[in-house]
């Protein structure tokens, strides 16, 4: 077993573009779920808005990347209003049901044969990232840095942009949550009626929170699409939403640090266990006391199982996550 390789891959995953894109999605979800208490199970739909906004721009409209961001924004706002108007007046559970369905609807629409000419069906959209590529100051062919932090020029460029966005949005969320606006949304999470009785338009704040969180999620989808150089409908499936949620809970909800470190840890652990299982079963199936435990083809599913187990252990032994406060958790249900 090549332990050095496993560790190298793990460490590079902590800081890789995948961690950055999870972190952005988690920062957005943290605004909605962590601070405002909105059960948004459709963050992947907001991410898809960003990716497809960008992808369709150069493909069909022939305009630059900056327009893509504007179109993505417009899509996020439309989606937020569509989902929010009927559900935000109701109890939190309804938003959860509607968002999970909406995310699936969005995914099925963009991968459908009927709309293939617009969204590219299950093949998605490719070749839209050239204007982003052109902005890169690095040589795309060259390798930069030293192992384990060695990346190609293009990867380095997307990483720098991705992590910069993470830093910018973390700071903006920090400012927002320290402000009276943040106080109102946190109060809504605790008790809507109390906030309403004090003269705040709860419905409007919930909508703002949903859309602002969606906009951050949109940037996550854009970074992911730019890194891969393609937009694939199945990259925006339920798995993504729940990975992001898991990563956020791991870090600790309603904490800016939690929404950044959580995804890094999550993705690091994911890559570690994946690499570990692959190395374990590389030459022959892994056996214990003569009983076959796992073979090569089972690495993927077993990895899922381990993630599920990890989440259960987390919820049992550290429900507040890494950065969450135990004191705050103890206040629940008093």
């Amino acid at each position: 077993m090549d332990i050095i390789k496993i560790l190298e891959n793990t460490i590079s995953a902590f800081f890789g573009i995948d961690a950055a894109y999870f972190a952005l999605a988690a920062i957005g979800l943290n605004i909605q779920f962590g601070y405002t208490g909105l059960l948004n199970f459709g963050q992947s739909a907001f991410m898809a808005c960003g990716a497809y906004g960008l992808g369709m721009t150069s493909q069909y409209f022939g305009v630059g990347m900056w327009w893509g961001i504007l179109i993505g924004l417009a899509l996020v706002i439309i989606l937020g209003l569509l989902v929010g108007i009927p559900t935000l007046r109701l109890r939190a559970d309804y938003l959860a049901i509607v968002t999970i369905a909406t995310a699936e609807i969005v995914r099925l629409v963009v991968r459908s044969v009927r709309f293939k000419e617009y969204f590219g069906g299950s093949d998605g959209i490719n070749s839209f990232s050239s204007s982003f590529r052109d902005l890169s100051p690095f040589d795309p062919g060259a390798q930069y840095g030293v192992r384990p932090f060695q990346y190609s020029g293009y990867s380095l460029w997307t990483m720098i942009v991705g992590w910069s966005l993470v830093i910018i949005f973390s700071f903006l969320v920090y400012l927002l949550m320290k402000s009276p606006w943040g106080r109102v949304v946190k109060a809504i999470r605790e008790d809507e009626d109390a906030v309403r009785s004090l003269g705040k338009n709860v419905y409007s704040y919930k909508m703002q929170s949903l859309i602002i969180g969606g906009v951050v999620g949109m940037f996550s989808g854009m970074i992911f699409a730019l890194d891969r150089g393609s937009v694939q409908p199945d990259n925006y499936s339920r798995d993504v939403t729940f990975y992001v949620l898991t990563a956020l809970v791991l870090g600790g909800v309603a904490r800016v640090s939690g929404s950044v470190i959580g995804p890094m840890m999550f993705w690091g652990l994911y890559v570690f266990s994946d690499n570990f299982l692959r190395e374990l079963t590389k030459d022959r199936p892994f056996e214990m006391f003569g009983i076959g435990i796992i073979q090569k083809s089972q690495v993927g599913p077993v990895n899922y199982m381990l993630i599920g187990l990890g989440l259960m252990l987390l919820m049992t032994f550290r429900p507040q996550g890494i950065f969450g406060s135990k004191e705050e958790m103890a206040l629940d249900g008093r």
């Binding site: 903006l172 400012l175 927002l176 320290k178 402000s179 009276p180 606006w181 943040g182 106080r183 109102v184 946190k186 109060a187 999470r189 605790e190 008790d191 009626d193 109390a194 906030v195 309403r196 009785s197 004090l198 003269g199 705040k200 338009n201 709860v202 703002q208 602002i212 004191e327 705050e328 206040l331 629940d332 008093r334």
Partner: protein, 292 residues
């Protein structure tokens, strides 16, 4: 004991005005701040509230009493926009509130508290208080990103919140989570937070529920203090001692209707009230019953 107390001019006028009001259900008051007409609310086949006419005198402390299920809290919900009646009109300071949603009533100067205290447990006491202030610049998200835009207003709000906390003797808990307060302290916090909206009418839903006797006395004083500061108080309560102690006027509800109105003295000997509370053929007055 009433003679020793100093009332503000407004409170004195309110008392004097109420002294000449006829003690009958739905009677008109000289200067009503709140007025309800034919407000009715059905839940399925049950009529929870059916108020023909109700006026609340400005500057007074008015108690709303009645047995469980009389519709007191439902009436509160209707008047503050938390629930919508099937028909009826109601006005606050001669503004019709029929189309006004719950959060707007607070900015008009009409604030309520809840029977089950709604302290925002994961916010500190001072944050709870600051939330109450209306018209905050920083509550717009774009201003929230620019601290210099709201900093000045925020510090003014904080000063006012600190003064109120001192008055309600919660200043030592200032930076604690509201979730760590006792039940009585939460009642105080909720009342203090409501005052942050600068209300003219304060509606308290069972302010004494679950509060120990020592704290009840100080809550009484606080409620009197509200009136003496020029606010009108309308409160729901079951504690007859307290009702007798502090209210200028008492409105009695039973089965959704207003069955009696009058000064505390008039109410405690009103046969209709005794019947509503205790059933028919009970000879004693409410207070005798309490003291027995």
């Amino acid at each position: 004991m009433d003679a020793e107390r100093t009332y503000t001019e407004l409170a004195q006028r309110a008392r004097a005005a109420l002294a000449s009001v006829n003690a009958s259900p739905g009677v008109a008051k000289p200067d009503p701040i709140l007025l309800a007409e034919n407000v009715r609310r059905n839940f399925g086949g049950v009529t929870a509230v059916d108020v023909q006419h109700l006026e609340v005198q400005r500057g007074s402390i008015t108690a709303l009493i009645g047995p469980n299920g009389a519709g007191k809290t439902t009436l509160f919900n209707l008047l503050t926009g938390f629930d919508t009646p099937d028909n009826g009109e109601w006005m606050f300071d001669s503004k019709n509130l029929k189309k006004v949603v719950a959060h707007k009533t607070a900015s008009l100067g009409m604030v309520r508290t809840f029977q089950l205290t709604k302290s925002l447990t994961k916010l500190s006491v001072i944050e709870n208080m600051k939330l109450g202030a209306t018209h905050q610049m920083g509550e717009k998200w774009w201003n929230g990103l620019l601290p210099f835009r709201y900093r000045k207003q925020e510090s003014m709000i904080e000063r006012r919140a600190d003064e109120l906390l001192k008055r309600f003797k919660l200043d030592h808990m200032r930076d604690q989570y509201a979730g760590t307060l006792s039940g009585g302290q939460r009642k105080l916090l909720e009342m203090a937070r409501a005052l942050m909206t600068n209300p003219r009418l304060v509606m308290l839903d069972e302010p004494m529920a679950g509060v120990n006797p020592a704290l009840k006395q100080s809550l009484n004083e606080h409620i009197r203090g509200l009136r003496d500061d020029g606010m009108t108080v309308l409160f729901v309560e079951h504690d007859m001692d307290m009702v007798h102690d502090i209210s200028d006027w008492v409105v009695v509800m039973a089965e959704g209707r207003i069955i009696a109105e009058g000064t505390p003295e008039q109410i405690s000997s009103n046969p209709a009230v005794i019947e509503a509370y205790l059933g028919t053929h009970q000879g004693k007055s409410l207070l005798e019953e309490e003291n027995a």
